[in-house]
Structure formats: structure tokens, C-alpha cells
């Protein structure tokens, strides 16, 4: 992973001191609340329901053992002993005290972690394929490019006060595992006719108006990553709306202008940058990219014959191990190695939560079994990327002991959810309680295996941090006269077949939602063509109608009648 040099260390230290002084002035009454708000957001601090929430950037989702140990220490010292992994591969703390945050950030800086631009109207933490470097469908490892771009946008003075947040997502593989097109800009690193370049999509985003990014340029040359990013950010800074927070993302500029005018603006700016001194300064040399690549070189894998193991025999003896192998272990590009998913979706656990003890256990396991490295996934789980087959059984035993081996990756109980009303100041409705109720209805592994791959996603408000718009079953919490209600969308997907889900109809009450989801799943089991057809395929084949009819139970017919009457 990327190792800081003196420049990185000094810059982060000076930044932390800048925020320490801002916090001191605010607490001393020298800085008005509204002014401080803009500053604390750019250091990862939201005001939440109970306390400030601190979002810690995990650059492109990569964590090392030292960072995991530091996280254990930090959540014990400054919080209530746990942290929360988000869909943007970040970690959130729900209970830090503002006056202690500068010290907390100083501790994190020791292990190359920070909260720079974790919130606020700026360029946010960059997300990336969590299987970068180990996936067998990878064309190019996107992480060196992520880090080059991270350094370009970190504290960029021209783009520090944007109209609204701006998110980049990267992939270098055939399968998009990072929901890249839900970002303001998606960057696909690829090879064409022997040359490396980038396919750029712009204008994606979830929230109130969920949209997928549209292709801006099919091949930007490798040297021009920062130039093209600069052209997009400059166009956004100039033309993004600032009169209405709900219309301030770059996707609105694209929508209001239309794709041709929008593309012309970005391409014109890119051409001007490219022809100028600015372009000379932003142009990446092969040497720059090579140097960055060395930070992400492959670990010293053992020869295949030393790494391999017979897994059939232990699996036959232990059902739990067999289930875990089937659901939580995936192929690796190196013979004898596997990718291990660590589930943060155990029964009774809020999706994505991780305790201090688990952070410590993970540090230990990463060091022992995966060259000291761990990744956070888009689905709020974790990945140990480089595990030898011969270590799998020992690793499973230890993950089990830490409650990190629930064999449910990609299944019904692997629910994505934001923290919801229990923590978040923006939320309209609770999420954690609902996820637990859905969980209880499908707790048995047999039932989950029968159902197969399904993505249930849930957000506590329109902002969509739980990515409800791109769930196969998406659930959105809304407030109706002070009560919690839940809207359901169907057929969304964040991957290669990306789609925004379709809203089914009226919202369901808190008491109805878990049963409603269960009815949708049972509808699928009854209607699927065969066991191979997934929920999403089945939905796409049959459309909304049969699911809608069952979601509302007996009410559906009455509703259909009244709709017909209205028409």
C-alpha cells in the first residue's frame, strides 16, 4: 500500500494543526457556528443526533495492520468502542467529543489516516474496486491512479469550495465492483491498442435524483488523468448551481445543459489545459506512474505448491467451514491463493459496525494470513485479499471466534444500510431495527442459499447513503407526520448492468416493511424460471406488476382499482 514520505507526513501534520487552531477558536467563541461548520465538514465532522460524527477517509478502501490497531485504540479512547464502515469504504465514529477531535486526528495521522475532505462541498475520498490487484478479471490495477488523483485533489485550493460534494470512483476490471457510475465521475482504467488510458463517465449520483454517470470520453491518455479531472472540476466549480443545495451536484449541470453542450464544455477546457503551461505541470510522466506503481506491487506470494491445500476433506467434516468456503471465499488470480470476505453482517450487528476487539483481531489476522493488508468493500464488508489455501481453515476458526465469519456474503442478510435515525441527524427513519427484522425472517442459511444472490439496500433518508436506489430491493425511510414509513424500489443495480430501481408504490408502515420484503422474496421464489434465475433477472423478465401485487397484499387490488378509476 502507499507509504508516506516526508512531504506527505509534513503536509498532514500542518493540516491537522490548522484544524486544531480552528477548533480552538470555535470553542473560544472567536469563530461563528456557521463559519466553523464549513471548516469542520472539510475535516470530516458532521453534527449528528447525539454527538459530532467523524468520518475517516480510507483511501480507496485500503487498510494496513498498523492502521487497524490504531483504529482499535482510537475507538476505545475517543468513542464507545466501535466504528462503522460505509458504502464509500470509509469509517465513521458516532461519539467523539469535538474538543478531542484534533487529538484524535493527530493519533490517526501517525498511521497515515486522515479526515481531509471526508465531508463538505469538495472532492471526497476516492473509492475503488476492493479486489484491485488480486481479481482475475482485472486489466489494470487502478490504485496507483487513485493515489495520484488523491494527491492532486487533496487541499486543492481552486476546488476546495465547490458547489457541492464531488466523488470519484475507479475500476480497472471487467466487472464493476465499486458502483463507479453512481459517482460524480467514474474512471475506468483500461488498455486500448496497447496504450493505457481512462474511460470517463460524469454526472452520476444518488440522493434525491438518482442518476448514472454518462460517458464523457472513451479514452483519455494515461498521462492526462489530472488534466481531465481538472477540466471536470473546473467546469463544475464555474457552472454548478449554488442557489439550491438540492440542485448543486454536477449531474444537474449535465441535465440542464444536455450531454452535447456539457461534453463540449469539458472537452474544450481539457484541450485548453493540455495546450498550456498548466498542462505541462499536470502531465504525468511514465516515471511518475511507475514510482506510484511500486507502492502497490504484489506481495511475496509463496509458490503454488506451498500455498495449495486440499479443502474438500475439512469441508466435508465441518459444515460451517464448507458454508463459509462457499459464500465468503472467492477466486484469486494467483494459483494457491484465495480472496476472503469478512462479513460485518452477523446476527444482531448493525451492518458495517466493527468493534475495537474486531479491529485488533483483524490486524492480527491480516498480518498472519494476508501480508498485513485488508480492504473495505462497497457492501460494508471487509476483504483479506491474499490468503493461501493452506491457511483457510485456521483463518476461518479465528474469524468465527471474532464473529466475523457469517457465511452470508451477497445473500439476503448481507444488507447494506446507513446508520439511520438512531444516529444520523439527516435521517427520517430508522434502518438498523428494520434490517434486524428482515434478518430474523431469513436467518436460516438454507433459506438464504435457496434465494441466492440478492442485494437489499436501505437508506434512512433521500440522501441515499445506503444506496437504496441501486438495490435489487431498495428501501427508503421517509417521515410522514412524525411516523417512520418505508418506500420500496425494485430492480436497481450498481454493477456492470447498473440501473436505478423503480419505485413500487405507496410507502409501507414500520410494522409492515419487513413482511413486505419477505413477500417480495417469496414472490420471486414462486415465479423464477428455475433455480439459476436470480432475483434481479426474474424481476427484469417479469417487471413490476407481480411484485407490486404481492407487496401490498390484499390492498393491492383495491389500489389497482382506484388507479384504474382515476385513469
Amino acid at each position: 500500500m502507499y507509504r508516506y514520505d516526508q512531504i506527505d507526513r509534513d503536509l498532514l501534520r500542518q493540516r491537522t494543526e490548522q484544524f486544531r487552531d480552528q477548533t480552538r477558536r470555535y470553542l473560544a467563541g472567536e469563530l461563528p457556528e456557521d463559519d466553523f461548520r464549513q471548516l469542520r465538514l472539510r475535516n470530516g465532522l458532521y453534527q449528528q443526533r447525539h454527538a459530532p460524527m467523524l468520518r475517516i477517509s480510507v483511501p480507496y478502501g485500503l487498510l494496513g495492520a498498523a492502521q487497524l490497531r490504531a483504529m482499535a485504540q482510537v475507538v476505545r479512547t475517543y468513542d464507545k468502542g466501535y466504528g462503522h464502515f460505509t458504502t464509500r469504504q470509509n469509517i465513521q465514529l458516532n461519539w467523539p467529543r469535538l474538543e478531542q477531535v484534533p487529538d484524535l486526528l493527530t493519533d490517526l495521522a501517525e498511521v497515515q489516516l486522515h479526515s481531509i475532505q471526508a465531508c463538505g462541498n469538495d472532492t471526497r475520498n476516492i473509492t475503488c474496486d476492493y479486489l484491485a490487484g488480486v481479481a482475475d478479471d482485472e486489466q489494470l490495477d487502478p490504485r496507483p491512479y487513485c493515489e495520484l488523483l488523491r494527491q492532486f485533489v487533496a487541499l486543492h485550493p481552486e476546488f476546495y469550495w465547490l458547489p457541492r460534494k464531488f466523488k470519484f470512483g475507479f475500476s480497472g476490471a471487467t466487472n464493476d465492483r465499486a458502483a463507479t457510475r453512481t459517482n460524480d465521475a467514474a474512471v475506468h482504467v483500461l488498455r486500448r491498442d496497447g496504450a493505457i488510458g481512462y474511460r470517463f463517465f460524469v454526472g452520476g449520483g444518488l440522493g434525491r435524483l438518482p442518476l448514472l454517470g454518462q460517458e464523457m470520453n472513451g479514452f483519455v491518455p494515461e498521462s492526462d488523468l489530472l488534466m481531465y479531472a481538472c477540466a471536470i472540476l473546473r467546469t463544475f466549480n464555474r457552472f454548478g448551481r449554488r442557489d439550491n443545495i438540492h440542485k448543486a451536484r454536477i449531474k444537474i449541470v449535465l441535465r440542464e445543459w444536455g450531454i452535447e453542450r456539457f461534453r463540449t464544455a469539458i472537452e474544450t477546457e481539457y484541450a485548453k489545459i493540455r495546450e498550456s503551461d498548466e498542462g505541462e505541470q499536470l502531465r504525468l510522466w511514465p516515471e511518475d506512474i511507475e514510482r506510484m506503481r511500486t507502492h502497490f506491487s504484489a506481495p511475496p506470494y509463496r509458490p503454488a505448491h506451498e500455498a495449495r491445500a486440499d479443502l474438500a476433506a475439512p469441508a466435508a467434516l465441518e459444515g460451517g467451514f464448507a458454508a463459509w468456503l462457499k459464500r465468503n471465499v472467492r477466486a484469486h488470480k494467483m494459483p494457491g491463493y484465495r480472496v476472503v470476505f469478512v462479513s460485518l453482517k452477523a446476527p444482531g450487528q448493525a451492518p458495517g459496525d466493527c468493534t475495537a476487539e474486531q479491529f485488533e483481531a483483524l490486524a492480527e489476522l491480516a498480518e498472519t494470513y494476508s501480508f498485513g493488508e485488508l480492504r473495505a468493500t462497497y457492501d460494508q464488508n471487509l476483504v483479506l485479499p491474499d490468503v493461501a489455501e493452506r491457511d483457510l481453515h485456521a483463518l476461518w476458526t479465528r474469524l468465527e471466534a471474532a464473529r466475523l465469519a457469517t457465511p452470508n456474503i451477497g445473500l439476503t442478510t448481507d444488507i447494506i444500510a446507513c446508520p439511520g435515525l438512531d444516529f444520523c441527524g439527516l435521517a427520517n427513519a430508522g434502518t438498523i431495527g428494520v434490517t434486524q427484522e428482515i434478518y430474523q425472517r431469513f436467518d436460516s442459511l438454507e433459506a438464504q442459499y435457496e434465494i441466492g444472490p440478492i442485494r437489499i439496500t436501505m437508506s434512512g433518508c433521500m440522501n441515499g447513503c445506503g444506496h437504496h436506489s441501486v438495490g435489487h430491493i431498495g428501501i427508503l425511510g421517509v417521515d410522514k407526520h412524525g411516523e417512520e414509513w418505508y418506500q420500496v424500489t425494485l430492480g436497481g443495480s450498481p454493477g456492470n448492468d447498473a440501473a436505478i430501481g423503480e419505485r413500487v408504490g405507496r410507502a409501507l408502515a414500520r410494522s409492515e416493511i419487513a413482511d413486505g420484503v419477505a413477500r417480495l422474496i417469496h414472490t420471486y421464489l414462486e415465479l423464477r424460471s428455475d433455480e439459476e434465475e436470480t432475483f434481479l433477472e426474474c424481476y427484469r423478465r417479469l417487471g413490476l406488476a407481480p411484485f407490486k401485487a404481492r407487496l401490498y397484499g390484499a390492498d393491492a387490488e383495491a389500489e389497482a382499482d382506484s388507479e384504474a378509476a382515476a385513469a
Binding site: 512531504i7 503536509l11 481552486e158 491518455p221 489530472l226
Partner: protein, 173 residues
């Protein structure tokens, strides 16, 4: 006369911002007038020197041939969190080569000053309630930079190079 930051020093301001259209400059004064008035009256105003104040929505590239000779261009921050004038400043300095005084006016607070300095502003007029000495210190809050802007910092990726010559410019496009 109020005090401002210019070239990193606290100095008396020798310019007057004439937002009031009725005010009539005299021949020896140095006046800054809004773009609309500047367009209408620049040939008839009898000021000693005339600077122009641009709204942050103005396309500085299109306008530049008209204002290039102005000794001062003032850019406006309606709120400190509205960064449009930062792009205007970078374009004026880097792309258009403007070398006159580039002045930040409006809701200019201490915590914006660092970013102004990096984007090429050499004159900063803080909001009246701001502490000037603190503003001057803020210019150096962070003394390193990852990326080039308009203050002479070399890009960090270039600083890390070994000293080999630049590769030939690719003209693949």
C-alpha cells in the same frame, strides 16, 4: 483609509471601491468600479487609476482582452464558501498571464486567506471584523502543497522525479 494585506504585508489601502454609482472620482484618486459602470464610463471617468470589480459569474477568458490593461482586478466572494472567484483568479494568473493586482473582496475571512494566496491573489481585503495580523499568518498555515496552483509550488509528483529529462510530448489525440 482601511488596512489590507498586500504582498504579504499589512498596508494602508490606497484604492477606493466605488459601489455607489453616484460617487464621482476626482482626477487624483485610485478607484475600483463594478464591471457595468467600468464598461459605461471608463473613458470618461477622471480617476487617477481605474480598477475593475468582476462578479464571480463573469467569464474572465472572454472578457480579458478588455480588462488586460487594468492595473487592478477585484474578484468577489459573496460568501467565503463560494469558490467561483478562485477559478477566475487561477485563469487570470496562469492562462491569461495577468500580472496586475488581483484583489479578493467580499466575505473574506481568515480561514479563506490560505486558499486565496495559493490561487494567485496578491491583495486581500478581509471582512471588517477580521483580525488582519491573524489573516497574514493564515497565508502560511500550510507550507507544503501537493498540486501546482498560482503561487509557484511545484507539483509533488514532479518534486519526486529523479531528474531524468522529460519524455517527448505525446500527441496521441
Amino acid at each position: 483609509m482601511s488596512r489590507i494585506l498586500r504582498h504579504r504585508a499589512i498596508v494602508e489601502d490606497d484604492w477606493t471601491l466605488a459601489v455607489d454609482t453616484a460617487a464621482a472620482p476626482s482626477a487624483c484618486d485610485r478607484w475600483i468600479v463594478p464591471l457595468a459602470r467600468w464598461r459605461a464610463e471608463r473613458d470618461t471617468l477622471r480617476a487617477g487609476a481605474l480598477g475593475v470589480l468582476l462578479p464571480n459569474t463573469e467569464d474572465v477568458e472572454a472578457l480579458y482582452p478588455q480588462i488586460a490593461a487594468s492595473p487592478l482586478i477585484a474578484l468577489h466572494f459573496p460568501t467565503f464558501a463560494d469558490g467561483r472567484a478562485l477559478t477566475q483568479a487561477v485563469l487570470l494568473r496562469n492562462r491569461l498571464g495577468y500580472r496586475g493586482e488581483l484583489r479578493a473582496v467580499g466575505d473574506v475571512v481568515r480561514d479563506l486567506v490560505f486558499w486565496l494566496g495559493r490561487c494567485g491573489f496578491d491583495a486581500i481585503v478581509p471582512r471588517p471584523d477580521q483580525d488582519l495580523a491573524a489573516c497574514r499568518e493564515a497565508l502560511d498555515e500550510i507550507r507544503l502543497a501537493y498540486q501546482p496552483a498560482a503561487d509557484g509550488h511545484t507539483a509533488v509528483w514532479a518534486r519526486r522525479r529523479t531528474g531524468a529529462a522529460a519524455p517527448p510530448h505525446s500527441d496521441a489525440r
